[in-house]
């Protein structure tokens, strides 16, 4: 094993586009996908903005490579679309799926469907079958069935906002341990009344657009997305003559042990996760060229995470950015969405800007990158810090 675990394909659908090329174009052009709510019927419609995917469920289903069978939800449709793109890029569309695993992540699962029919379940049989879709594992199974993964390793992780990062981490570990040769890793979450109202009661939603690391930041915008990477062993890459697009070099997970939903004052969990990622990558802090921050733009996160940067990188915090002003906070998909963006940054030698920046935080001198900047990048560290104190850090390096 040289640089890490090979990434041979990636796929994404988010508020800034369907597919990697569309997302890249938006990132370069500074085009945010945050806007009003269209698909979810909620009383919050007029008062919160979200990173919504443009297509409705019918249009999503039409874009799949082959028709979706069975009780799909918006979550599973999004997952299938992104996974198909990743497999296509990796050249695995027509390959026997025998040795392909799937490690996926979600927090919403089929909630978008079950919340619609919640009270009807009590009075009518009409939608009873949809109850099965709620199960987080159901989403993974629908994806496995659609992608033709018949007897590979399939599992679902649910650890809040760090879920997809943990899926990537587990996939990389299993490949390194020789337990798997090829695995699809990532996560998906769609918008729902459940999460919109929940975050609203926690009073951490922005009244307008999220502005990470700004002094007057006022909270996050929720978003929906799906993103998947194909990870492969060196042996598989060699045998298939595949071309890695990046390598997962390091990863770390640690618990903040502070509060169910808030981060500790000095970012203990984030610090520990970043240090562990550096250790597993065999890299020193000075060898990290860029950070894709968790950067949700809540008063709590950005202060905590900024302090963690200083604890790990000292005086030399590398250029960092939060891409959440583009996509919103995509919950269980975030770690994978931002892994895709990190790979794009390295492939194209550029740091994407933190949009909506309105002035630096008073607590420290750290400032995110605010303009699209050409910069050759060999390594990117990406953070995903979840509720329940579950903090994950990935280090991805250039192919």
């Amino acid at each position: 094993m040289t640089k890490g675990v090979a990434v041979t394909g990636m796929g994404i659908i988010s508020a800034i586009g369907c597919g990697v090329p569309a997302n890249l174009a938006a990132l370069r052009e500074g085009r945010s996908g945050i806007g009003p709510i269209t698909w979810v019927r909620t009383h919050l419609e007029g008062s919160v903005r979200v990173g919504e995917i443009a297509q409705n469920d019918v249009d999503l289903a039409k874009q799949l490579d082959h028709p979706a069978k069975g009780p799909h939800t918006r979550t599973s449709l999004l997952g299938c679309l992104a996974a198909e793109e990743a497999l296509r890029q990796a050249g695995l569309m027509n390959v026997d799926r025998h040795a392909l695993g799937l490690i996926t992540a979600t927090t919403v699962g089929g909630m978008d469907v079950t919340e619609k029919y919640f009270y009807q379940y009590l009075t009518s049989d009409e939608h009873l079958a949809s109850i099965d879709t709620l199960h987080a594992g159901h989403t993974g199974q629908m994806m496995a069935d659609h992608l033709g993964i018949v007897d590979g390793f399939v599992t679902t992780i649910s650890t809040a906002c760090s879920s997809a990062s943990n899926a990537i981490m587990l996939g990389a570990r299993m490949i390194k341990a020789g337990m798997l040769d090829r695995v699809l890793v990532g996560g998906v979450d769609c918008l729902s009344k459940f999460t919109l109202n929940g975050f609203n009661t926690l009073m951490i939603l922005s009244a307008s657009q999220n502005r990470p690391f700004s002094d007057d930041r006022d909270g996050l915008n929720l978003g929906e997305a799906a993103a998947y990477l194909v990870l492969e062993s060196d042996a598989s890459v060699k045998a298939r003559k595949a071309t890695p697009i990046a390598y997962v070099a390091g990863y770390g997970n640690a618990n903040d042990a502070h509060h169910q939903t808030a981060s500790s004052e000095n970012g203990d969990g984030a610090t520990a996760a970043m240090l562990e990622a550096l250790r597993t990558a065999g890299l020193s802090p000075s060898e990290i060229d860029h950070i894709n921050a968790h950067g949700t733009a809540t008063p709590n996160n950005d202060l905590s995470e900024g302090r963690a940067f200083m604890r790990v990188f000292g005086e030399h915090v590398p250029p960092f950015t939060s891409t959440k002003p583009y996509t919103g906070h995509t919950l269980a998909a975030a770690g994978a969405v931002e892994a895709v963006f990190s790979i794009l940054a390295m492939q194209h030698g550029m740091v994407f800007p933190t949009l909506n920046f309105s002035g630096g935080m008073s607590e420290f001198d750290l400032r995110p990158t605010t303009k699209l900047t050409d910069m050759p990048l060999s390594s990117v560290l990406s953070n995903s810090l979840g509720f329940g104190g579950n903090c994950s850090s990935l280090i991805i390096v250039k192919a």
Binding site: H43, T107, G109, M111, E115, F118, Y119, L134, H135, A136, G137, T155, T156, I157, S158, T159, A160, N166, L170, R173, M174, A177, M179, K193, F194, N197, G198, N200, T201, L202, G252, N253, A254, N255, D256, A257, H258, H259, Q260, T261, D268, G269, A272, E276, G386, F387, G388, G389, N390
Partner: protein, 206 residues
């Protein structure tokens, strides 16, 4: 098959009975979940005010961890480098339902932040980490059924690489009236006098 590392201890909470290794640690006055939680909390002599605010899944996970880690502390074998690998079938469905009701009661929509906070299965890992000051790795899987082989596939490499000195693996399931938990503690230092996975599974089903 069983993992390579030894099992220090195991415990279970099921049908009103709290078992630690072969012993009955506590039997609740009734198998009713709330009674079991309340009486076990008292029987263990815990003082943790926030326990009462936790949702059912977190209470069950918290007490399960308390039994087994509490014992490790008494025996002097507790390690601060204990990772948590948990799984269940139903995620946090009790809280999901309760929150959905608070959100959707026609004419009476008052979503509750205190309930929403528990609508993620891994929050219980946070509660356990806060209680025992564990800054270690933790993960929560959603699976069809309890499968120690899969959990060990995650846990063994952590021990092997020295990322953790011990791993607490647990199946903590709560859905309406049905509840059960089964946990076991793997230790890096133990060279592998492991009990058979089937034996564990059998004990869990008892």
């Amino acid at each position: 098959m069983m993992g390579e590392h030894g099992i220090q201890s195991w415990c279970s909470i099921s049908e009103g009975r709290v078992m630690l290794n072969e012993q009955l640690l506590h039997e609740a006055p009734s198998p009713d979940f709330r009674e079991v939680m309340r009486s076990t909390y008292k029987a263990l002599g815990i003082e943790h005010a926030k326990f009462h605010k936790m949702d059912p899944l977190s209470k069950l996970a918290f007490l399960t961890a308390e039994v087994i880690l509490g014992e490790a502390k008494r025996a002097g074998s507790f390690s601060q480098e204990t990772a948590l690998v948990f799984a269940n079938h139903s995620s946090c469905i009790d809280s999901d339902r309760k929150y959905q009701q608070s959100l959707d009661d026609p004419g009476n929509e008052w979503p509750s932040p205190a309930v929403f906070v528990y609508t993620l299965p891994n929050i219980c890992l946070g509660e356990i980490s806060i209680r025992h000051q564990l800054f270690t790795e933790s993960c929560f899987f959603i699976a069809k059924e309890f499968d120690p082989a899969t959990m060990n596939r995650y846990a063994d490499p952590l021990l092997q690489a020295g990322i953790a000195q011990q791993v607490l693996c647990a199946w903590v399931e709560k859905n309406d009236d049905h509840y059960t938990s089964f946990a076991y503690l793997l230790d890096r230092a133990d060279p592998g006098t492991a009990r058979d996975a089937m034996l564990l599974k059998t004990k869990k089903e008892q």
